[in-house]
Symmetry: none
Subunit: 209 residues, 4 copies
DNA sequence: TATGAATGAGGGTTCATTCAT
DNA sequence: CATGAATGAACCCTCATTCAT
């Protein structure tokens, strides 16, 4: 029976109990690698060395874990994007910085990025995860604004659709989370440089065609 | 999904019983939109107007449905890629054609592409779906070969990593399946043109920086 | 995760599959004797000789089973009460008939009555069971009307609160479901006669006090 | 509830630590309103402003809390009934006094009465709560004796079954605990008077039928 | 006394799959 | 080909209880 007055524990607060962050980190990796639905709470608990029921001492539900992981990433990343914009560089530089920040997240928030890339579509449908779409809209606003400004300045090609260009960048960066291997040969910095180069100048050599 | 590499009874052949193709099409869309794991066989059956048990007269398992959907797409797409290469254009043109074929698939094999983009990582682990990685490797071989050739000819930038460039293109095209709306303002052709432009020449206007 | 588009099976229809009624009858007795919350679906299934999951082929949930049991009783009983009222007897006789019907239900709808008596308070809070209070209100309306009419006719004591009298009768009949034993010495008819006697004339002998 | 007839450590004594009585009072209300099984120890602790684990410094178990609540009520009420009987009134008066004491308990031991009415059947099965049936038997003995005596004296109707009459009275008084509202219009005294009237003289007006 | 982390058993429910009809 | 009843394993979550601090 789902009909129960049920408790109203808090358990959400920011009392960074250490243990909490540890559990969240374990869960984030598993959610990213196996998928949220395909990761069972027992598996998370096993990995943490506790019983599945004990997880509920720390989190209200599996959903709440996902929620906390994504919220942390999105709010931090939005904050960084806003700071870039407020620095008031020219569009060319700003775009470079935004790309830089995006790849930096690949390092800092790898699992959250992966989860978001893989499951945003499914999650966004639920009220609880409404903030995902809000955040996405703000990311787009920021990108579109700077791209348009660059087009007015003549630094970016006029025929380009800013919204399409934004999706282009966003998708290619996000998708890379799937194959990026932190201990591989290719560093984040290396990938970022190559990608930025393509975004800016394309693959064709000067005087190529 | 238990992924039992079990028997491959009769259900395989291309004796398109019509009903079979119809069921597969229903399933493909649901797998793409909701995710394979999140789509239950009952939901597929409901949508088809039959009972879930009846699906098993047409397909061995849910897995088998996914299998058939992906196999159809991959073999057709590989065939098209091979034909492009065998036409023997110059690298610049070949790359254009490959991109064109990729976007054409967005139209022809929308659901299969989406499923593959979303679940390849998870599926590829199972023996049954080993062919996914084989196919991906062949796609990569084709791309890398033509990009290298273009670099030798001086048409593509020398500093570029062909494998990275391949992933870049593959990911940005694949990811677009998530937001592409066939009845929206942006046509596949329009998206393809803009993306090709960026791949080739970047976003910066000539003499921009 | 509770967030799922979830199916919308019907399974509710009146296709009296026999099996369905059988399962419901098993459940009703257990709910009545042990309490709804204390009866597990596994226990019900055990008693029916199937697995717990199989119950969900017939009913959407445990709650739905309770629902069906109670609805059946309440609608049938309301119908009988309405018919009594429509017969247009005098108040004295009508009250007798209502009491008679109440005790008849002790026989016909024993388990449903017990469940209702034991759990109405808890269940009525949930929207799904809102009809319980509606039904109770209608029962009360019927009782209060006939008692008032009898007071006006001078057949029932004037000082009596009709609502209180209704509760009095309702509670004493309902509570008897707890100790009533169909195979015991005391028949429903016997209990009904004694109770009716007390309701009408009290325990004190004529000229007693 | 596991009902382990385990050790009866120290926690029993009446050394009313104040806090203890307070916790018990909180629990009693919750047990009465939501049901024993449906009330979690965490909810009780929440209401008391402590953590659930801390409850176990005061009580051995949830069961022990129920036990203490019921024991308190039953022993006090039995005591009062015995005193009424020992006063040696005539049956007519004694019955009035017993009813009076029953309704007085509605005021004094409201929650305990409710718990007993709602869960006696379930609890009585466990050894630990064997005293419930003992107490009930003694209540019955008292009632039956005075009713029989009244019948011999000619003050109560001869055809009446004393045991049935006892249940009748007991059930209607007990059940009223469910709808009795201490801050409502109807006082305990008022209810008691009306009920006593019905018990004694019925609802029919003198010369009514 | 109180905390807070953990236990362990069990609860309702879901779902791919089987199979007699 | 389709039905519908059943399986059996797994899933998320709950809760009374314990215990080191």
């Amino acid at each position: 029976m789902s009909v129960m007055t049920g408790g109203n524990r808090v358990s959400g607060g920011e009392r960074g109990s250490g243990r909490r962050a540890e559990l969240l980190s374990i869960a984030a990796e598993m959610f990213a690698v196996r998928g949220v639905a395909a990761t069972t709470v027992r598996e998370i608990a096993d990995e943490a060395g506790i019983l599945s029921g004990s997880l509920y001492h720390h989190f209200e539900s599996k959903e709440a874990m996902v929620d906390e992981i994504l919220r942390g990433y999105l709010s931090a990343q939005l904050e960084r994007f806003r700071r870039v914009v407020e620095a008031g560089y020219e569009p060319y530089t700003t775009v470079g910085e935004l790309i830089h920040e995006s790849f930096a997240a690949l390092h800092r928030h790898r699992w959250a990025m992966a989860i978001l890339h893989n499951e945003a579509g499914r999650l966004a449908e639920f009220d609880r995860f409404g903030y995902i779409e809000s955040a996405n809209r703000e990311f787009e606003r920021i990108w579109v604004r700077v791209l348009r400004q660059g087009q007015r300045n003549g630094v970016f090609r006029a025929g380009l659709s800013p919204r399409l260009a934004h999706r282009f960048i966003r998708d290619s960066v996000s998708a890379s989370v799937r194959w990026y291997n932190p201990s591989g040969r290719m560093s984040v910095r290396g990938i970022a440089e190559q990608y930025t180069r393509i975004f800016r100048d394309g693959m064709v050599a000067p005087g190529g065609e």
